[in-house]
Symmetry: C2
Subunit: 520 residues, 2 copies
């Protein structure tokens, strides 16, 4: 312990003594002493780190093997910081450096033989294999409610009962933090791998940031001892900051900006620019001016795909979200369940309807209907699902011989799979204000009614296996109206082929001919 410190406290004689010593020292000695002091300080500090770390970086607490106490609150923070200052104080005080300590080495718990002869075994945990929580996005669901979308360790949720809580800390430091209730939704149907998807709904008992003076939302994520029953750690971290004046409270009650918003799933692999070009032109035409498309790039939007999206981005129809970073975290299919939930909550108040389907799928409403008439007729339902028309990814028309490579996918792939008795995936649309979490084929967490009776009103054509291949799809040219191919019955269905010309015309009108030479 330090003499200077002692001096400060002791004063008088000791101080004079110390000054005498200092005056007699050569510059070299001073330098040496200073260097030693720094070195010792570092070493001393290292020994204090584990306990100090509990203060600020909640992330780390779990990993510190030696922790045996739990700290679940934030009330502890103030006292912890105070304590930390006390702990660090000795670091600064030593005047005469003590001998160099051994290099810091994490202590390991050793087994020992107890008095009664029992061998008390020790278990030493090291490192970390999975995060407690990985946040992707946090969004308001209204005046007093928020949704936090992220990933969490899968076995933690299978074998333990992790819990969540939100805390609102107003910017105005004289106002007190407020805690919310919270419930978690696991929307990925048990599909997780290292990670599973979690949507945390935090609802407060009062409006939050009602005066728009700003503040910060923190998530408290408790492991409930999932990885170590001795360490029921709560990680507390910022998930949303609202700067003063930034919240538009009218948003929650005003008419949404878009009628139809498309939330795409994770795009991955070597996608065909030609197919993406056709898909986006088709759907902008279908959904019209008050529509928007959110595309999630998990690695599939390579430069040639970017090229076909760019014109539509420039026109304001497409938002491209680069989500490649999530590939770091091993979840089900490029974390698609997280991505669609992020999209739902991010655009909850910006669209009357949100639709979920894939880029090899084409929504279709029969003649004499419009997308508006259909959607309006279903507006009593907060969710409806859409039946699939599976199309061959290989069978084309002999009539197109010699020029099929110039035709669009929906133009040349004209044979529809009519195999019966197969349960086919459906896609769906929701009115997002009543939805708390969503899936890939439907939402199971919503208020209001759901209907599956949409036949005759709306369906989708599915060109499975065409989107992630770069070679010409046509393999067989046929001139029949029905055929059994690879044990599957197909019929000629030119529904989409008949629209292709109108889509091409629309594309030309909107963005000119710049995508005309798009490759397969």
């Amino acid at each position: 312990m330090s003499k200077e410190k002692e001096t400060e406290r002791g004063g008088g004689d000791q101080k004079k003594l110390l000054m005498g010593v200092l005056v007699n020292c050569a510059t070299e000695l001073k330098l040496l002493l200073t260097a030693l002091l720094i070195l010792c300080s570092v070493a001393t500090l290292l020994q204090f780190l584990p306990s100090r770390f509990t203060i600020s970086t909640s992330d780390l607490r779990f990993c510190i093997s030696r922790i045996s106490t739990t700290a679940t609150g934030d009330a502890a923070t103030a006292t912890a910081i105070a304590a930390s200052i006390n702990q660090v104080a000795p670091l600064i005080s030593p005047a005469v450096p003590p001998p160099l300590p051994d290099p810091p080495r994490p202590s390991i718990e050793e087994e020992k033989v107890l008095d009664n002869g029992i061998v008390k075994r020790a278990f030493n945990p090291h490192g970390a294999a999975a995060y407690n929580f990985i946040s992707m996005g946090t969004y308001r669901g209204g005046l007093a409610t928020f949704a936090v979308i992220g990933l969490s360790s899968k076995p933690l949720h299978v074998y333990a009962k992790p819990t969540y809580q939100c805390e609102w800390v107003p910017s105005n430091s004289s106002a007190s933090p407020i805690m919310s209730g919270a419930y978690k939704i696991l929307p990925d149907w048990g599909y997780g791998r290292v990670y599973t998807v979690v949507v945390v709904n935090c609802t407060f008992s009062q409006p939050i940031n009602a005066d728009n003076s700003g503040g910060t939302l923190f998530l408290h994520a408790s492991t409930s001892g999932g990885g170590d029953t001795n360490v029921d750690i709560t990680d507390r971290f910022e998930v949303l900051g609202e700067s003063p004046g930034s919240v538009d409270f009218n948003l929650f009650t005003s008419k949404p900006k878009y009628d139809y918003l498309y939330c795409g799933s994770s795009l991955y692999g070597n996608l065909s620019p030609a197919r993406v070009r056709e898909w986006i032109a088709y759907h902008v035409r279908l959904f019209g001016e008050r529509s928007h498309f959110v595309i999630h790039d998990a690695g599939g939007v390579h430069p040639e795909v970017m090229e076909v999206l760019k014109p539509w981005m420039d026109l304001g129809y497409v938002t491209l979200q680069d989500i490649r970073e999530q590939e770091r975290f091993d979840g089900y299919y490029h974390n698609q369940f997280m991505v669609v939930n992020d999209c739902l909550h991010r655009y909850k108040f910006m669209a009357k309807w949100i639709l979920f389907f894939d880029v090899d799928e084409y929504i279709y409403v029969p003649p004499k209907n419009t997308i508006k008439s259909v959607m309006d007729s279903l507006s009593d339902y907060n969710q409806f699902t859409i039946a699939q028309m599976p199309m061959s990814s290989k069978l084309c028309l002999s009539a197109d011989y010699g020029r099929y490579y110039r035709k669009w996918g929906i133009e040349k792939l004209v044979y529809r799979d009519t195999k019966k008795g197969i349960r086919r995936d459906r896609k769906y649309a929701i009115q997002p204000r009543g939805v708390f979490a969503t899936g890939v084929h439907m939402s199971q967490n919503l208020v209001g009614k759901t209907t599956h009776k949409t036949e005759g009103k709306i369906k989708y054509f599915h060109y499975h296996g065409t989107i992630a291949q770069r070679r010409e799809p046509c393999r067989n040219l046929l001139n029949v109206s029905r055929i059994d191919f690879e044990k599957t019955p197909y019929v000629l269905d030119t529904t989409m082929r008949d629209i292709a010309w109108a889509v091409k015309k629309f594309e030309f009108k909107m963005i000119g001919d710049r995508l005309q030479h798009t490759k397969q």
Copy 2:
């Protein structure tokens, strides 16, 4: 931070200036400045923590969200420490304290809109849900080989390819550390939960610590990016220390201390002291003087069970391992696969044979055989398995009416299940020197031969459902030689009953009558 220190370093002009300031200051101001300085220093330091932490506490590196580089070696340590000193230096230097910084707050990665209009999303990981590795024990397998037994995150092993390496650091600091090859065995048949069992075999290309001068074995456990592909962290930690002169190298070649060693699985629940009393007396008698019993207490050895084990512990027949600590880590059935592997490697050179079975199972060799004659006849095999004789846990003899509660379990439970066509579990014995990892029903990692043809030589009677209940087992008293009970055929089998008197006599001879009043 202390002003005296500044004086030490700066010297000259600065010194005078500072002294001037000091002289003019009121004591209160000094105190205030000191407090502010300390506070700022702490805050400054906190910002440096993440990178500094990579130095000493490998455990923590993974958890630090912001780390994007990997550090797999120990060569980095020296430079890292040097760097850390440089980083910490600013803490000590400022003479005039800077304005109070904001309270430390972990930075979160924010999404941003790129020049091309793409929204680049951010994912912020927090906390930790499972350890990378939990070590239970590390044992020599010979002059140049070691086995490290522990737990590791289950999804890490299912979805990633974590790798291991050992490093021997001699106590003699002039000798260089040596790295080994290593292979891992996952012996728990895919049964893991949050954790799975790992046996790491580290074999060096040269004898280790051959001069018995001591040293330390470190395990390097690499996650291979299992929880975050950006962070391929290697945790390096001590698993075995050998103090100078502590290794008995003769052990590996000398005759083992015991002929027969019993490795028990995790004991858990409200075990019957009466049944344990009978079991241990029976088996000490069977296996004889050169035998030993290792019992693993995962919570099942409550005081009354301890009471019946104590006499045998005092005689040196029983070692009780308290493994309750492993309950912290959620693996398959109280981590029994880890426990038996620890036992195997811990006693590898101390027993000719190691047997694995449970405390409701009684090994039996037919008359005119001894355990020695049977085991010797099987000594060409490094492993043999033992067939099960399933006994009823309820059916007793009418002849015992009125006094069955005083009889031993093996004495009164005399009906054997003879249902055919059921695959029944087997138990087993090994010659441990040729075995690298073991299971509950047999080892799949050994050299040498295995035989299952042991019928007529050795078998075991299994009183399933008797060990973890505290009430009298007899429910039905019968006086028939065969019966169908609860759709299962039973026959009268008094094999064990006939030995009971001899076991009781043996127990009395060995430990007197002190267990006579043991409760069910």
